[in-house]
Symmetry: C2
Subunit: 310 residues, 2 copies
């Protein structure tokens, strides 16, 4: 096998992800300008601060890749409105970061390379700005679904999907599991349950939202769901590994926090080499789950989440 | 004027409100059983605790009264599904109570006659259970709108209405205004802005949700919006008065908290008699706003909110 092929493919993916990220950033800024800028009072500043950080934008990129994988060939280049719709997942993710960083949660000072929202704007404004981000994401879904002329049932499906991912059996429930785990011995089953809820639910939902927006048939939706579950696991194992091997400058957040908070992690349970091999296995499982769904980008993203440096 | 007439009307209203409250409690229990009981993990207990308190259920009662005021004469007795839909407003209200009581907010020990959620279940579980209540309310709207066979646009309108009431320009924004007001001199304009957002937005939204569910024509929706704004003001002034004149046993929460937290209130700005006269004036304005909309219950509720003892 020639070494040039994967390298060229990897650099094409890097360039693609970079272009997507720029378009997602533009869409997020445009959504924020429409929905957040008119907000009166003291919440606007922490909201704009929270939404203006840079980020990998993995969730909207997954949304858009799923959308492209199922949409008609004529729609391989989604409109700016679809990009704004994809930002709903990023806004919910941002809400979770703002709340996770709070002193009563993980108590972090640094996020995405900048001071956390509560360090700049205070605890109560950060908590309330976080709380305001969920209805902002929901309103964005309703608004962009209408702008896209979606049949209204599809809008309802999108709202329900995001509610479930953000709710008690998803992100919010996972955060509580994670906090509880700090006070007990955590085995592999428990660790997987935490991450499936805390991170996996929204990653999978991002793919499902894109697939629903693209009016995917049921088998494609199922394939993307399985892909998302395996990808979420790979992503989280890689995150745990980066917490050990990375540094604050490239991570944009404090490294070594898992050990400091005595959190169970894949490296602490399986060792570094064991965790790396698990991440690779999960990425391969994600790729296999795609089955008939031809999507070079989703295939490449499965490698990307385990090979990334931040 | 004979004294017996208003008394008889008042006692009929009391009996009506009591019947409504019982039916709302049943609907809330049934919605919680469907949506909260399947929740896995440690969030179920604080969620069930938060939703099982008793309450005035003013928001669902406003929803149902608006629904009755605009619905076809054949639908004067809404189905249990409509009652469950009405509970979405109560669930969002419950979320706000759970968060407002947190130590980083108003730091209260007692709510609706019981220990607050964080006193029983801990700060992080209370915070996360509160956060989970909003997507639960949204999912309830999507689910019951479908069960009622609403055209899907109506479901989208309902979701958007609740998002706005719960968001940065509504409840959550109002809470931040309220916290900030503790550290400055608050005049009447500021006090009204706080309450319009913190309490008024959800009370008005409850009426608008009921009206939208009942497919109200635009003039009726506008009349109910104005009624809600004036009713919200009357309600809040009465709440401030009760904080001075009431006791913990009948209020179900600590009395005298406004003074303790040095919060500006209508009695502190206008004196007790001045506040009582303002509350009465707002209630009358609410009644006038109803205009052509014949609703004995909404007329009577305007008096009820200023004359209540808890």
């Amino acid at each position: 096998m020639r070494r040039i092929a994967p390298t060229a493919a990897a650099s094409r993916l890097d360039a693609f992800i970079e272009r997507e990220r720029v378009r997602v950033d533009e869409a997020l800024a445009s959504a924020a300008a429409e929905i957040v800028s008119p907000v009166g009072g003291a919440l606007r500043a922490p909201l704009e601060y929270a939404l203006s950080t840079s980020g990998k934008r993995l969730r909207p990129i997954l949304f858009l890749s799923a959308y492209r994988a199922v949409a008609a060939p004529s729609d391989v280049d989604p409109s700016p409105t679809v990009y704004r719709l994809a930002c709903a997942a990023e806004i919910v993710h941002t809400y979770s970061l703002v709340h996770d960083d709070l002193p009563s949660m993980d108590d972090d000072d640094l996020r995405r390379g900048r001071a956390t929202v509560h360090r700049v704007h205070g605890v109560a404004p950060a908590m309330l700005a976080g709380a305001a981000l969920l209805p902002i994401a929901m309103e964005l879904i309703v608004r962009e679904s209408r702008a896209l002329g979606f049949p209204p049932e599809r809008g309802a499906l999108l709202v329900r999907e995001l509610c479930r991912a953000a709710g008690a059996d998803g992100m919010v429930g996972g955060q509580l599991l994670d906090l509880e785990a700090e006070r007990r011995v955590v085995d592999e089953t428990m660790l997987e349950a935490i991450h499936r809820a805390k991170t996996g639910a929204l990653l999978t939902a991002s793919l499902r939202l894109g697939a629903i927006a693209g009016d995917a048939p049921e088998p494609a939706l199922e394939a993307l769901t399985h892909y998302g579950e395996a990808l979420g696991l790979a992503f989280q194992i890689a995150d745990d590994i980066l917490d050990v091997t990375g540094d604050a400058a490239s991570l944009g957040k404090e490294a070594g926090r898992d050990r400091e908070l005595r959190k169970a992690s894949y490296p602490s349970l399986y060792g570094l080499a064991g965790a790396q091999s698990l991440a690779r296995r999960a990425a391969n499982e994600a790729k296999q789950a795609l089955g008939e769904l031809r999507s070079p980008v989703l295939l490449a993203l499965a490698d990307y989440v385990v090979e990334r440096r931040s």
